[in-house]
């Protein structure tokens, strides 16, 4: 199976140099930010790796995982990290973040998919910076492929994937024929979430995403990483989404301390008016 995994880097929320908004409020200041991969994209990569191996012998790859990102040269670090973790090949589509919206990303990916012809695109359900949650859906529409969003589990069958998602009050399961688009939620990295046809049903993964051993990090340097110009994938680079203004959330007011439960209840009733 050949899988394409789009990756995005996002500002590290734990980093001391928090996101800043200049007084004009017209953009987000990105210089000096520290970056890390969007967590849902890391989950997508993990799911893709699980689909292309026997969980028992992950070093033997069965299939191909191609990772792709949009961004300037520095974003290659995100790709290298994915290559070190087990992806086979990487593509960087050269552009900068402020020249993109979900629609343009989806159109460029669709053009790339025409060339790459993957069996599945596994991607995060959304990026934690913009929280748009739309690239997967637009992409499925553009390609006219079946789609399964918010996947919590994926099981490979011949020519199809059985995908389940958590919904209110239960689990919805569907079978999508390949080629298909799957967007994943955080449950996808649980020990029994993803099974390729090669992995025994009794096998349990470690919880969470795998990380690269040091020799793999060094070996990843030899893996193929190519650059493509955005213009070669999307002639029309007009954006459909225009950001009007950015605003930092209001500073939190200091909390109060209550003496006892009675006071807590009174305050919740009278002041917070939530009871």
């Amino acid at each position: 199976m050949k899988i394409l995994v789009p990756l995005k880097r996002v500002a590290d929320p734990d980093n001391a140099n928090k996101v800043k908004i200049p007084a004009a409020g017209d953009k987000i200041e990105t210089t000096g930010l520290e970056w890390k991969p969007n967590p849902f994209d890391e989950y997508a990569l993990e799911a893709a790796l699980r689909l292309t191996e026997n969980g028992q012998t992950p070093k033997v790859r069965a299939g191909e995982v191609v990772v792709v990102t949009f961004g300037p040269k520095e974003t290659e670090q995100t790709l290298r990290a994915a290559l070190a973790t087990g992806a086979d090949r990487a593509i960087r589509i050269d552009t900068t973040d402020d020249k993109l919206d979900g629609d343009l990303v989806a159109r460029a990916l669709a053009a790339l998919i025409e060339k790459e012809k993957p069996d599945v695109v596994v991607m995060g359900k959304q990026a934690v910076d913009g929280d748009s949650n739309q690239v997967g859906q637009i992409l499925a529409e553009l390609l006219d492929w079946p789609m399964a969003t918010f996947a919590a589990t994926i099981k490979e069958e011949a020519g199809a994937l059985v995908v389940s998602r958590e919904v209110d009050g239960g689990v919805a399961t569907m079978r999508v024929k390949l080629p298909a688009i799957v967007t994943v939620d955080l449950r996808i990295v649980a020990p029994t979430s993803v099974y390729s046809t090669k992995t025994a049903a009794t096998f349990k993964y470690n919880d969470g995403v795998r990380f690269a051993a040091l020799p793999a990090i060094m070996a990843a340097k030899k893996k193929l990483l190519v650059e493509i110009k955005l213009a070669d994938l999307a002639a029309d680079q007009a954006l459909k989404v225009e950001y009007k203004a950015f605003q930092a959330p209001p500073a939190r007011k200091a909390g109060i301390k209550v003496k006892d439960v009675t006071e807590l209840v009174t305050r919740l009733k009278n002041e917070a008016k939530v009871l």
Binding site: Q77, R80, A81, A84, G208, F211, A212, A213, L214, P215, I217, M218, K221
Partner: protein, 575 residues
């Protein structure tokens, strides 16, 4: 630049020469290396977060076997082994950065990994024959085999040349037979391969011993005692080793027969840098703890961080840690730049690193106060773990003597050459005039630090001034005391303290200059301020040390100590 007298920044400094091209521009990781190191750190953090419980390792006095296996499969046992021997092939700088991370995460693991590769297998890397490398490095790189460094003996700690373990060549010359015992050997409980130092000449009082280094496999008959119970780094294994007619093939001699002391010293020179970076990693974690605490803890209606005495501690800890980081990566960069003599610099890093850590852990614990003392919090464990760094790989006293005496060796030789030249004026003319030029320069004006950024001119002037003082006082004490200087430890200590502070200031200046050039004054505000604070504090110490060369109570102190040795106790009691 003046002709290079020494191949070492610090050794040149003892002549009063500021070899600034050796420290400017401040080194940095090549971008490729930086990217790899960032990924390695990411994997290390993830692995430790999911699998390592430092408090439990301390409590149970052991690193769990599955963690050891995990560390091995991660690749942490072969960090500096070249890739063609199946290692990761990190540069000294990248290695230091990884050890910094590990040092901050768990002291026991840091010491275990350090004993394996900073010293245990380092001899094979530095002195091994191609056959020895082929045989041992690949297995050591994966951790299938682990290594230890076995020098210390019951009657030979600091005085390593006094070791008694004997290596006797067999009658047919095919192997050596080792007999003796070692103590306090890190990884002694499980290591498979030992770098062992033994005497290959007979034991004669006063005679210079011939020491040889050997690669000894456990299977050749090495036995170990039980794990020692220790103050800190309790998860690391520290044991005695016993050699009872252990047969070692002559192919396993490491380096040259009789040159084992050199092997030991070279290994320790590079090992000390690892200790400094591990200490730095702990400082960083402690600062994080301290900075959380000062915001959270309230007293007298305010966060304790608002009190002046807390700010005083925090700023001083930051400045000191910045100096430590700056000198550690300057030295690592010097090593990567293939400068072969970094013995003074790495000794300075070890002393300054371990003492900075001790100071930072003490003040952080003080800020935490009551909870700092409780076992439910990490402070007391970190304090116990930190303490070893002042002791092993050369005690800080021994290293101070080493820094002073090794630094003064160049000027001492120059002086005696000059004395000789004066006896034979014609033959020695070249030498004399060279010396005269240097003299003239030091009289007419001090050596300049021209590459420091103008914003750091105050610090640069302090550095220049006390470089002049170091050189002139070195010359003074050498002229006055000659060979006797070897016995004058009070003076040695002053010289060493000055060297340490000067190297720290130079490191801060070089690094902050780079920061200003990259990011401008405002962008480099933090670095500029910390350089200023550190240099001001160092200046006070430097002044004091210079003052004390001529006005001190050394003799009185010696007398008081000697009298106390006969008293054998504190002599007073008010009852």
């Amino acid at each position: 630049m003046p002709p290079m007298i020494e191949q070492s920044f610090m050794k040149a400094l003892f002549h009063g020469v500021i070899a600034e091209d050796m420290i400017f521009p401040y080194p940095e990781l090549p971008s490729d290396d930086r990217e790899n190191t960032a990924m390695i750190l990411d994997s290390v953090r993830r692995y430790f977060a999911a699998n390592v419980d430092a408090a439990k390792i301390d409590r149970e006095h052991a690193i769990p076997p599955e963690v050891m296996d995990g560390l091995k499969s991660l690749g942490l046992f072969g960090l500096q082994i070249p890739t063609d021997h199946d290692g990761i092939g990190l540069s000294a700088s990248a290695y230091a950065r990884v050890m910094q991370e590990v040092g901050g995460l768990d002291g026991s693991i840091a010491v275990t990994l350090g004993a394996h590769q900073s010293i245990g297998l380092k001899g094979i890397l530095l002195f091994g024959t191609p056959e020895q490398k082929r045989k041992y490095l690949p297995k050591l790189a994966t951790g299938e085999w682990t290594a230890a460094f076995a020098l210390t003996e019951p009657s030979a700690g600091s005085d390593a040349a006094a070791i008694k373990t004997r290596a006797e060549l067999s009658a047919d010359g095919s192997h050596y037979v080792l007999n003796g015992a070692k103590i306090w050997i890190t990884n002694g409980g499980f290591a498979d391969v030992f770098t062992v130092f033994a005497r290959t000449s007979s034991m004669e009082e006063g005679a210079k011993p011939k020491i040889t280094a050997f690669i000894v496999e456990r299977g050749m008959g090495v036995k170990n005692g039980p794990n020692e119970h220790k103050l800190g780094i309790r998860g690391s294994s520290t044991t005695e080793l016993f050699f009872d007619d252990v047969k070692v093939p002559k192919e396993n001699v490491l380096g040259e027969v009789g040159r084992g002391f050199k092997v030991a010293m070279e290994v320790l020179n590079s090992g000390r840098l690892g200790l400094a970076s591990g200490s730095l990693g702990m400082c960083e974690v402690l600062l994080k703890l301290a900075l959380e605490r000062v915001n959270e803890r309230r007293a007298f209606g305010r966060a304790i961080g608002e009190f002046g005495l807390i700010k005083d501690k925090v700023s001083a800890m930051l400045a000191q840690t910045y100096a430590l980081e700056s000198m550690t990566y300057l030295t690592a960069g010097i090593v990567d730049g293939k400068v072969s003599d970094y013995s003074l610099e790495s000794a300075i890093c070890k002393v300054f690193g371990s003492e900075t850590l001790w100071y930072v852990v003490n003040d952080t614990l003080q800020i935490a106060a009551g909870i700092g003392y409780m076992q439910d919090y990490p402070y007391e464990r970190m304090m116990r773990d930190a303490r070893i760094n002042l002791i092993f790989e050369g005690t800080n006293e021994i290293l101070r003597c080493f820094i002073a005496l090794s630094g003064m060796q160049g000027p001492g030789k120059a002086l005696s050459d000059v004395v000789k030249a004066m006896r034979e004026p014609i033959k020695g003319f070249g030498l004399l005039s060279d010396f005269a030029v240097r003299k003239a320069r030091s009289v007419l004006g001090r050596e300049r630090l021209t590459r420091a950024h103008p914003l750091l001119s105050r610090e640069a002037v302090i550095f220049e001034e006390f470089t002049g003082e170091l050189a002139s006082n070195t010359e003074l004490v050498l002229r006055k005391h000659g060979k006797e200087i070897a016995e004058m430890q009070f003076t040695q200590k002053r010289i060493a303290e000055m060297s340490i502070d000067l190297f720290a200031i130079a490191s801060c200046i070089a690094r902050t200059t780079r920061a200003i050039e990259r990011r401008g004054e405002e962008g480099a505000r933090r670095e500029i301020d910390l350089t200023s604070i550190f240099t001001t504090a160092a200046q006070k110490r430097l002044r004091q040390n210079v003052h004390d060369f001529s006005r001190n109570d050394d003799e009185l102190r010696k007398a008081v100590a000697s009298r106390a040795y006969t008293d054998r106790a504190y002599p007073f009691d008010i009852v």
